[in-house]
Symmetry: C2
Subunit: 348 residues, 2 copies
């Protein structure tokens, strides 16, 4: 059997036992709370892993872009949510073609977005499920509270759209009051809400505190990452993704360079660094160039030699998947599977 | 003919006239100064564009990783420099296989790296050209001054290695004194230096001030980016790469979201933002999520509607090329060519 020692660096390893445990734990938590779980595929972009999530109990998947949803519909998934404003005639045509093929739900935070969806659905004579996206304290997309009823009403009134409920991101407890107000306004307006889809790692953490939320969509939990550890969502041992890298330069006593740079780890950071080196927990990755991680080993008692292999838990796992054509599933030192990242680079 | 209006967003446009002008200007500058020019392909990763650079006068190309060099050797390039410490038996085997096929030059900043190259070259009974990499004020890889002679001597003495000169990055004027000292030490040691390869946009800017440098290797100039503009290397009109994007959400008067996030623009930043919106020069891209650019339009007199198309000059062009399977060559509004980013994702 091939082992990790046969792999060239850098490469991205997924510990399958940790991943499977993460999938089971999240599903068990949702089962216990009586919420539906929806797997956001942005973290892995690999149909085979999404199948594990669905077979473990997920009601369906979420994709962030139409081209991602196409990859997963082609792979046989039939309950796909795209929590995104789909805008532009060509993209709407693609969306409606997909809606003919699978049970598809999108979101909208604006009357102009609803108008585009309504007209495309009518043009294609195809029904489309649309949720209203409620803005949160995170200030991403999402309608302001006073726009929720008008937006929902426009969906209800469109001949080919079905109002599918309320979507929020993240569904953290600090957004409960706003969500309750939105639901109360919709109820007063006589608009029935079938589903309330929350999401994010913080939404999963706060799930008990958000009884209104009927469905959780989460992606990162499947692999976890150093952001998750720093946020207190998981322990380092819950991180399934490790970037295997080689120390290729040690110009002086304190500094070292790995053969994994921003093309491998991505330049996503919370300001604290660019990942955690498992073998040298006191080291810091202080900078990335495209092909080098610039490491500061000054806090480490022992320091690596040129040629030594190390493993990095990346800051943000989803963007790492998007940089690589393949992720390597391992159990211990054994290489079990080479997954193609089938929906890598799907930005349209 | 297809025009840009037929393209879905987000997509990456290359203005071919600007690109061709950038290529001509850089080559003319090197011709004038009597320096060789070597095109670093990391910026585009596209053989067809490298051919334009070589036909305009480049002596060869630079690739940062062995797998990139393989793509370009397969495309017929025969003078390839890899300014990188190649470490590890499997990778050295790939390197030497490539050295049989094309004129290949690598670099080394350490005796351990030279030992690996020497033993692989002997094992494959293949000669390999090796430069010594001199550390600079930027504190990337590179040997300290007192390690230059021992490292060069180890190359000279290895049965299957040819000493190919000194490599520095960046070859900015603040590194001249160090370079002169290194050359003087090599001369005192009786080691002849055939070539001195400098690089980077700053190296190109300082080329007159660095008469010792015989060869410039630069990548970014071919497209330029907002980092180049901010550093004073070029004007906005010299930027050939523009990411075409759609405004997909306008939750309030000041905020707006484009359908281009870190998967499209990369999260590389100098702290000032994540790119320049050509149509709204006073707007700021303050944050990226994976599929959204979070824009602040508060300083703009007019502001876009949902559905409006805009163009973003990215902060760092090289990492954008690495995120996309295709770049689209345009002249004005006409779509001329769809280039496959053939060496995208080549990290090993």
């Amino acid at each position: 059997m091939m082992t990790v020692h046969d792999l060239e660096t850098p490469c991205v390893l997924i510990d399958m036992s940790i991943m499977e445990n993460n999938i089971r734990q999240m599903q068990a938590r949702c089962n216990l709370l009586g919420k539906d779980f929806r797997a956001h595929i942005k973290t892995h972009k690999i149909p085979q892993i999404a199948w594990v999530q669905v077979l473990t109990g997920a009601v369906g998947i979420a994709c962030q872009k139409v081209s991602e949803a196409e990859v997963f519909a082609d792979a046989g998934f039939d309950n796909i949510q795209i929590p995104y404003n789909i805008v532009g005639e060509r993209k709407l045509d693609r969306l409606l073609a997909l809606a003919k093929q699978t049970r598809l739900t999108v979101s909208a935070d604006d009357l102009a977005v609803v108008a585009g969806l309504a007209s495309a659905a009518a043009r294609h004579d195809t029904r489309l499920r649309v949720m209203v996206d409620l803005g949160t304290t995170m200030r991403r997309t999402g309608a302001a509270l006073d726009q929720i009823v008008p937006t929902a009403r426009a969906i209800v009134q469109a001949s080919h759209l079905d109002f599918a409920g309320v979507l929020i991101y993240p569904s953290t407890a600090d957004n409960r009051e706003m969500l309750q107000a939105a639901l109360s306004n919709l109820s007063d307006a006589g608009i029935a809400v079938e589903s309330i889809s929350g999401g994010g790692m913080g939404g999963a953490r706060d799930a008990e505190l958000m009884p209104e939320v009927t469905e959780l969509r989460v992606g990162t939990y499947v692999f976890n990452d150093w952001n998750s550890v720093r946020a207190g969502y998981c322990a380092p041992d819950d991180c399934a993704m490790r970037v295997r890298a080689t120390v290729v330069s040690r110009p002086d006593a304190d500094r070292g360079f790995l053969d994994a740079g921003s093309k491998t780890l991505s330049s996503d950071t919370d300001g604290s660094g660019y990942g955690h080196i498992v073998e040298y927990p006191d080291a810091r990755i202080v900078r990335l160039s495209e092909e080098h991680a610039h490491c500061d080993f000054s806090a480490c008692q022992s320091r690596p030699q040129v040629g030594e292999i190390v493993h990095v838990i990346p800051m943000h796992t989803c963007v790492v998947s998007n940089l690589h054509d393949h992720l390597i599933g391992v159990r211990g030192q054994d290489v079990i599977i080479d997954w193609q990242v089938k929906a890598r680079g799907c930005v349209v």
